[in-house]
Symmetry: D2
Subunit: 141 residues, 4 copies
């Protein structure tokens, strides 16, 4: 963890989501794969808050591809719930790792936790970056 | 309708789809918006059969954007069903219009019908083409 | 159109949506089928405002199945846009018809229009209702 | 691992998927959350081959909820690719754990690996089962 990013590491972004009917599955709960959409909504809020979301990434000459995703499902999300999705940065040195928590807004109950890991690659060559490019770290200062 | 496209107009592409669990909604039937994915699968089969799918479109310098979509739902799609999705070309002169039918493979029952309309635009300028570019018509001969 | 529903017919529900990255397609615009999700978000706001959303429908002994959907795409939705989705009730006598408009929040430009039609069926028998059940009309007073 | 399930543990289900255009994201690769749909397609093939898919689960009085999901992304999936998705059962004693691999059909290259864990609960009470119900194990014999 570079010192550059220390301040922003404690930062947490959050977003409220009303569980949409179209995300329910045949068991009447949110289908497990949709949680990654909610994670992404919170990650977007985080990245916009530091001024380095998808358009800025594209202009930087790097792409940040998701190389790992994980979710633990604690209690089902049901229609009528509003959930709070939180994203925070857990690591940026070699890879960009975000942690997520989903809470029931009404009760505060934790419904799910998860993480994603992104790796930077050079957009032109597709070559993997061993360290996170400095342009991203600067946005985290 | 130009004479160029006459032969291919009678052509019909089809694809079988096993209703996936993740496409069900809280009423235990396929959510209505997902039908447009099934339509697209059949349209892709059609376009590949004439050698003019998304990659060839891109190379042609034109984009074909969907400007209208429509679906009538006759009977619900349920888990366990295999459906046959048919796509045929209904018009190509000014716009590219595809018609779709979804049938229950087992019973032959018609489950849905629909259409999409696509307009060609110049990829560089975003300018709308009043007529379908000849490169597409040539693939329909 | 029954007089019962007259007042609520002029009502319009709306919801703001930040275009999510995961809804973009390979042309970098929102994929056309996803617009029906945005329509549903606004319809949900409408139905909740009259106290007759999915849970109340279920308790009423009727289901309202979507039997038709339609969308006209006027200008693409791109990442970074916030859109306003409006839903209003156009008919309730025999079928429940909602009209939708999607606007670019920043410019006010109209991006899409559409409609859905829902039919009531008896949940137990699956039998189609020729008229909209009175329990729904009462919520529109 | 009970001896009941030993034989079926070596079993592997697979399914071919043509990468659909609507699953691409703004970077022109399959969006990472969609991989869980492909995993589910292969899991469905597995469960149907042993005669214990969603409908049989429902009749058994138990639900198998996904309590964990994980994916590693090795190389992007692009439009035009056909991929082979493999599912195999890694554990059934306390939880049902499936492993997945996605391969490029043409080159045999491994594109992703992942797993899901499901827990059985009593459908009526919602109570968690500490051991996998025997009815599922019998189908694995």
């Amino acid at each position: 963890m570079t010192s550059l990013a220390r301040d922003r590491r404690t930062k947490m972004a959050k977003v409220n989501i009303d569980v949409p009917f179209y995300d329910l599955d045949g068991l009447n709960v949110v289908w497990h794969g949709h949680y990654y959409k909610y994670f992404e909504c919170a990650r977007t809020v985080f990245l916009r808050s530091v001024g380095f979301d998808a358009p800025e990434m594209k202009r930087s000459g790097y792409l940040w591809l998701v190389i790992e995703s994980h979710c633990r499902y604690i209690a089902p999300m049901r229609y009528g719930m509003t959930v709070v999705v939180r994203a925070s940065l857990a690591d940026v040195e070699h890879r960009v790792k975000f942690l997520y928590t989903i809470l029931d807004k009404k009760t505060g109950r934790r419904l799910a936790t998860g993480h994603t890991v992104q790796a930077a690659i050079h957009a032109k060559t597709g070559e993997l970056c061993l360290m996170t490019p400095r342009i991203f770290l600067r946005h985290l200062q």
